[in-house]
């Protein structure tokens, strides 16, 4: 019953949000759009951070990969400015997932502090390419996207674009909500709580973490495509450490995340701690 009430409240809040935002002026509309894009990024990170207990410090990499894909296709090939925008959304998601699938091969091997470090290093690799590969990424100046796509409807209108992003946000929320309540999502939580025990129970811990990593990367890529078209410019600053950190930090972002997750987050349910140097014996 409480779950039904929670979902209902969330839907009502989103509906109120959707109705009110167009009256907040151009700044408010753009800000709300950015909040929603970052909410998608934060939810995707939450799959790793909140559910699987993997503290990724490099989530900006996927935002950057999606954003640069959209920007490069739009500025160099004029691709993705009409109905092909939907293709770019799919490509951005797939590329984010593909990058995560590659990065995951390195990152999932590491645990704890080393996982934090390796995800940081991976996102710095992406940043380094964005910053220095001038011929592709425009270097420090970034890439300007001259106009938003028109997919039958004109997305250059900020309100229209806000509703598009809202739709993507709602869809992502729904998909991730179903995902974390699925048996797969349950086993991710199990890994967060007692990794060793899950292994002993016969779960393939590595594979679960890897799939979670790939899914998170995919939604990160989706957020990146939307981020590029929200701002009309993509720069290396989008791929820096502060972006990675903003993802879990942004107070606004925390609202939908907390709602979706309810009481199961790391804040209310800390993972078992292991002092350095000791072996985790308790199963």
């Amino acid at each position: 019953m409480t779950r039904a009430i929670n979902i209902l409240t969330l839907v009502v809040l989103l509906a109120v949000f959707a109705v009110l935002v167009p009256y907040t002026g151009s700044f408010g509309i753009l800000l709300s759009t950015r909040i929603l894009v970052f909410a998608i990024l934060a939810m995707s990170l939450d799959i790793l951070l909140g559910y699987t207990g993997l503290a990724s410090m490099g989530h900006a990499a996927y935002l950057g990969i999606g954003a640069y894909l959209a920007a490069i296709l739009a500025s160099k090939y004029h691709f993705g400015l009409d109905w092909t925008f939907w293709l770019v959304v799919v490509f951005g998601t797939l590329l984010g997932a593909a990058a995560a699938a590659f990065f995951g091969l390195f990152a999932i091997r590491a645990t704890g502090v080393y996982f934090i470090m390796i995800t940081l290093a991976l996102s710095q690799c992406v940043w380094g390419l964005a910053y220095r590969w001038n011929s592709l990424t425009g270097g420090d100046n970034g890439i300007n996207i001259l106009r938003r796509p028109s997919v039958g409807i004109q997305l250059s209108n900020n309100v229209t674009f806000f509703y598009l992003v809202l739709a993507f946000f709602a869809a992502s929320l729904l998909i991730l909500y179903v995902l974390v309540r699925s048996p797969f999502g349950r086993s991710l939580k199990g890994i967060r709580e007692r990794e060793v025990r899950m292994g002993i129970l016969g779960y393939n811990v590595w594979l679960h973490k890897y799939i979670a990593f790939v899914i998170a990367g995919g939604f990160g890529g989706l957020a990146g495509v939307l981020w590029a078209h929200t701002n009309g410019i993509v720069t290396p600053a989008d791929v820096t450490i502060p972006t990675s950190v903003d993802a879990p930090h942004g107070p606004w972002v925390a609202i939908p995340v907390t709602w979706a997750r309810r009481r199961s987050g790391p804040a209310s349910c800390p993972a078992p701690r292991c002092r350095p140097g000791c072996t985790r014996r308790a199963l």
Partner: protein, 286 residues
């Protein structure tokens, strides 16, 4: 590309490595002793630079600015460690979020106090000359940097290897629980090491400010490079930090000179591989 090109590139790489050693050794010691991933370390670097700028502006003395910046940032680090990090416990994620939160606060504070312009730290006139060594003109300042880093490294090494407190520090790095068991006050050790690491980063900021400049955002440029040094060398090892700093400095310099488009990639990709293959680094101990 004659021999001079290679000599100058290696020299530049080594001098950049000398700077990285100052930042990386502190970070490495802090991690080794406390297992804290300190994302505010870049902020210590940049704050050291800014404080030096203020000291030079008021007193006109560059020599004075180094100890003042080191001391001020050491106190700042000490407060951070005592008031916030120590009560937080050993959860790496919380430490990361706390220290990165601090680095944002420091960044904003620096922006409010010193403004957003690119500032320069002018070294004494003696160090502005170039010295002719074997047919190549080398800037005196970079030679000074190498000498200073070597001197600090030597002092640190003597301190860690030859003194009683140094032995206690090494014991804490190897096994903090055991060290506590035999009566070493690891609490005090970690306090001391945190202040030391912060002041080393601040000295790096003063020294590096002369050729990098000091500007907002530099903290988050220095930080990942410092981590690359620590990761490649091995956390908690002074020798590792030295080797890591040299490798990263030279790799970075050659990367910029030979394939500029991949310059940073060529720096961070080895870090990824190192973390995946041997997370304890070249010289780190488990």
């Amino acid at each position: 590309m004659d021999a001079n090109f290679w000599i100058i590139q290696i020299f530049n790489g080594v001098s950049y490595g000398a700077l990285l050693f100052l930042v990386g050794s502190g970070l490495s010691l802090i991690f080794g002793v406390m297992r804290i991933v300190n994302l505010a370390h870049g902020s210590y670097f940049i704050l050291g630079g800014y404080i030096a700028i203020s000291v030079i502006a008021t007193t006109g003395s560059w020599v004075l600015s180094v100890p003042v910046a080191a001391l001020a940032v050491a106190i700042l680090g000490l407060l951070m460690e005592r008031v916030f990090l120590r009560p937080l416990g050993f959860d790496p994620l919380r430490q990361v979020l706390l220290t990165v939160g601090f680095s944002f606060i420091f960044q904003q504070a620096a922006l409010d106090i010193w403004g957003g312009n690119n500032m320069d730290i002018a070294p004494p006139a003696v160090l502005k000359n170039s010295i002719l060594v074997g047919g190549v003109y080398l800037p005196a300042y970079r030679i000074f940097m190498i000498a200073l880093a070597a001197a600090i490294g030597l002092v640190l090494w003597l301190f860690l290897e030859k003194t009683r407190i140094g032995a206690a520090v090494r014991a804490t790095v190897d096994d903090a629980q055991m060290a506590r068991g035999i009566g070493i006050d690891t609490n005090r050790i970690s306090m001391f090491i945190f202040a030391l690491g912060a002041s080393l980063a601040a000295i790096g900021g003063v020294i590096g400010g002369a050729f990098l400049g000091i500007y907002p955002g530099l903290d988050f440029e220095v930080l990942p490079v410092a981590f690359a040094v620590v990761i490649i060398g091995g956390m908690g090892s002074l020798g590792g930090a030295a080797i890591g700093a040299l490798l990263v400095g030279i790799a970075d310099d050659f990367g910029r000179a030979l394939f500029p488009e991949l310059a940073y990639f060529s720096l961070y990709a080895p870090m990824v591989v190192m973390l995946a293959v041997k997370p304890t680094g070249l010289f780190g101990r488990d």
